[in-house]
Amino acid sequence: MKVLIVEDETDLCDVMKSFLEGEKYIVETADNYTSGLAKVANYDYDCILLDIMLPGGTGMELLAELRALGKDDSVIIISAKDSVEDKVEGLELGADDYLAKPFHLAELLARIKTVVRRKNHHGEQAIEFKDVKLFPEERKVLIGTDEVQLNRKEYDLFYYFMIRPEKLITKTSLAEAVWGDDADQSDNLDFIYSQIKNLRRKLKNHQAEVDFQAVYGIGYKLV
């Protein structure tokens, strides 16, 4: 999997790069419009992360150029401007998703996985970990061959764990994933706890090989 990050903030670019490399992606970066354009013109990527404000041009222009070249690489616009107009314009120009800064890395990963999966219709659709299979299109979870009934929030939470098994996912990231933008924390953390408890019970009922492991009260790992 090849990802291109077009972002002029070096620090942000670096942290995204090392995170995605940790997730076994091949990552290339460009820090301005010209080098970004050169890269998208010459290579194919599974996903392009595109900042809107770039030295020498805008991400929107780059996106338009890319589509003009007849390329259908998945594009996620990443912008500090969380404005509706930008979102609409980006999606109209053919971006696959729009992520506002600041974001959780886990959220970024979830978005990348989603857009890439949508593009690749061939091959295995399910995300697998041990004996659990998660079908994102149908929002369905199988343990072995048994289907587990999960409600909306439980499914959303479980999806986060499935795309990053054996990694720590903090409660704040989870809270934001289920509660949305302006998640305020105190009331949500208890909620996360009770949802995880329910999920764990459902997994146990199906004798799943996976389980949640609490990490010092700050988050959980799927093991």
Binding site: F19, V84, K101, L105, K153, D184
Partner: protein, 425 residues
Amino acid sequence: MQVSLKNYTLRYLSIAFLIIITIWAALFYAFILEEVYDNVDDGLKNQKILILREVYAHPKLLETNEYGINQFRITPVEDENDFSEENRLDNEFFYMPYDDEMEPYRVLRTGFYAPDQKPYHLEIRTSTVEEDDLILNLTTALIVLYLVLVLGVYLINELVLRRAWRPFNIILENLNLYRFGKKDDLTVLSTNILEFNQLDEEIHRMWRRNEEVFDDQKRFIENAAHELQTPLAITINKLEMLMEDESLSENQLTQLADSKSSMKRLVNLNKALLMLSRIENKQYKDINQISLNQLVEEISKDFYDFLLFQDITLHVEEHTAFETSMNKDLALVMLSNLFRNAIRYNVKGGRISINIDQNQLSVANSGSPISLDQEKIFNRFHKGTQDSQSNGLGLAIVKSIVDSYSQLSIHYRFEDNMHIFSIKK
């Protein structure tokens, strides 16, 4: 007490007129009287000369000792000490048959030696002005003059000043109608009165200056919030990367998680501020006719798990559709904020009831048994005591959304132990 400018001047003018006319009347009366007596006296003195000549020509006239048609009498001097050839002038009253009363006369008294060398008194009288009548007539005339003057000034004020002050009234009305940034529906001032044009120009200049300052401030808040996003993103993401490190101790990991939590609060605060400034900058331009009923349904689904978790009963009562034209995203934010508040400040096992009819949508929740401070709950950064995690902007955002649509208003009341927020059309 407040009086209109035209009546204000009238009050002082009436007093001034009264004083001026009184002083003038006194002087006028004195001068008139002086002139009248001067004339009458001259006539009397002239008559004296004529009478003396006649007496020398016809000594028989010395026997005229009663006022008759001649209006003079001559009496012999009895006491020598009384005699004087000086002219003495007096006012005296005599009976006048025409008026059937005593009337004022001017009387000249003098003495002379007749041709027979004997001293005689000569008295000549002539009817003169009746001072009391004069005063009465003069006063009446002056009162009429005074009233006519005051009335005249009043009418001129009414007619001329009303016309002259019309531009001022337009300016006043414009000031009253003016809403921030909206000058289109104000009446354009057209007058040839210099001062009013200047006033109008200065007011417009002041509006422009204020709007510029306010816009600058809004831009500043928006830019500042924007500029914060990237460093916040970097910090949060770096903290997340750090937390991936398996070799960290519990203490280190907890501290990192706490830092991330605090950063997250900052992010939320920042987003809320951005949202507020966007609403105020009218950046949500897409306006559609939307039904809030449908949005309520969507939001209820979103919050379903939370309601379940908090054991809160939700009761939605829809009488009719509540439709209004507004931006859909803002409507969603407005309703979710109200909903979130209703959950957050609720109690375990409490209830939320939503009531929708044609002109009103109200969200009522159980919670603290004390009414909230109506004056302050919609203020920015106003926080209830029980919550340290809230950023205090949720209701401010709701208020700001409602205020950006002139047809909507929001009200809070506490009734039957329920906190009720209603959006009214």
